[in-house]
């Protein structure tokens, strides 16, 4: 429970930071979407249930502060988590470069899924997708910058919340 709370608080922090950045970027009509950042650490490092619970809670948090069907982002985060969880044994998940690449791919998938869900009824689909591709580009750049920091933050938060289990998992993982 403490581990779930620790991960959830880091998600709240990321959600707030992204919101703050988007507030200041609104003048340029640039929007960052960092859904992949909420998913990857839990999918690569935690057991299935705690990781999935943390990811779904982060998804619901994102859903609550955005319009659209409540649960859409939670579902997308959950699916991304399941895919990554199945793949993680084949990946060098301790390499920072691999963590960044996986986060970028997860974000790409989630972004496209959310875009498809929201693109119904748009007056000019071509112009909207042009805008969305720009947003995706800036989001991926932002993810490259923050992923190592956010991974370290989540790792540290878990160590503080439950040092014994985290140390055991690390040994088991190695």
């Amino acid at each position: 429970m403490r581990r779930l709370l620790a991960l959830f608080l880091t998600s709240v922090l990321l959600c707030w930071l992204v919101g703050l950045t988007n507030h200041h970027l609104s003048g340029w009509h640039v929007y960052l979407y960092l859904g992949g950042g909420f998913v990857t650490y839990a999918a690569l490092n935690l057991p299935l249930r705690p990781g999935l619970d943390a990811v779904l809670l982060a998804g619901l948090l994102c859903d609550a502060t955005t319009p659209g069907p409540f649960g859409l982002q939670a579902l997308c985060f959950g699916l991304a988590h399941c895919f990554l969880f199945n793949l993680r044994n084949r990946l060098d998940r301790d390499a920072p470069a691999m963590q960044v690449v996986v986060t970028l791919l997860a974000n790409l998938g989630i972004f496209l899924a959310v875009s498809l869900a929201h693109s119904r009824g748009l007056p000019d689909l071509g112009a909207t997708w042009g805008r969305l591709l720009w947003d995706l580009l800036w989001s991926q750049v932002a993810l490259i910058v923050i992923t190592p920091w956010f991974f370290a933050l989540q790792r540290r938060a878990l160590e503080l919340a439950d040092p014994v289990t985290t140390a055991w998992e690390r040994r088991h993982h190695d």
Partner: protein, 276 residues
């Protein structure tokens, strides 16, 4: 072999069970969860907004006394001009009321102006909205129009304990009846064209064939008052381009909205006094 296959499918089965349980949960529960998550984050956003105001206050404190005296003098001049306008408006309002009574016209809804600071701006390709720092605590109502000095901002879509969400007119979900200034025929307006590094835009449909709009001869688009949400005559934007629609009976056009929409720090909510 089958055990290994199940191991591969286990995450998806677990997710499927969670999704199935979520789907059968009553809507009231989902709504409660949504509000709870929103309210969980709201104090953080509101505190950030107050911190931003404090930062602005300390920045203003750095101004010299001469600058403040000059600003005060300019404000006094503006106040004098506004005093005159208020007197003129009172006289005109009395005249309108007299004519309305004479012709037995239905009266428009009266509004209470509620200025509110902007907590957060969201300008994605999917939606454009603001979160403001007033909600149920100031009796803001869902559907109330929101305006600023440049015209219409949008309308309230969600009201929470201390915050409210404003959907901007640049958002694709906003559709309303508008008229070209000086004309009475209603036109359909929809937001939704928001490219990066460019001002927000919208589109108009069902524009009469005898109205022409070009970038050098743009037409001011105002609210029609139809539908009862927005008072008539508020600026929506300027129609800068029009062309014959697919049906050949009407024109479609592009509306350039106020670029300040994406950098608003304060707006005014027009709360209906007698919504019934």
């Amino acid at each position: 072999m089958s055990l290994r296959r199940f191991d591969q499918a286990k995450p998806f089965v677990t997710l499927g069970i969670i999704v199935a349980v979520w789907l059968v949960l009553p809507a009231v529960f989902k709504s409660f969860v949504r509000v709870s998550f929103f309210e969980l984050e709201a104090p953080v956003e509101v505190a950030t907004s107050y911190a931003r105001d404090l930062q602005e206050y300390w920045a203003l404190r750095m101004h010299s006394n001469e600058a403040l005296v000059e600003a005060g003098r300019d404000l006094a001049r503006l106040n004098a001009a506004y005093e005159l306008r208020i007197q003129e408006n009172t006289a005109l309002r009395g005249e309108i009321e007299r004519l309305d009574a004479l012709m037995r016209l239905p009266t428009f809804i009266d509004y209470r102006s509620e200025p509110a600071r902007v907590v957060r701006r969201d300008f994605s390709g999917w939606w454009q909205r603001l979160i403001i720092r007033k909600g149920q605590n100031f009796r803001i109502t869902v559907g109330a129009p929101v305006v600023f000095t440049g015209g219409v901002v949008g309308r309230i879509t969600e009201v929470r304990a201390t915050t409210a969400v404003v959907e901007l007119i640049s958002s694709q979900n906003v559709r309303l009846a508008a008229v070209i200034e000086g004309d009475t025929r209603p036109i359909s307006f929809q937001g939704g064209l928001n490219t990066s590094f460019a001002p927000p835009k919208g589109v108009v449909e069902f524009m009469p064939l005898d109205i022409f709009a070009r970038p050098n001869a743009r037409k001011r688009l105002v609210t029609s008052g139809l539908g009862g949400v927005f008072p008539p005559g508020l600026t929506l934007g300027y129609v800068t381009h029009s062309e014959l629609g697919a049906d050949g009976l009407y024109q479609t056009g592009v509306v350039e909205l106020d670029p300040r929409l994406s950098s608003l720090t304060e707006v005014t909510v027009l709360v209906p006094l007698n919504p019934d």
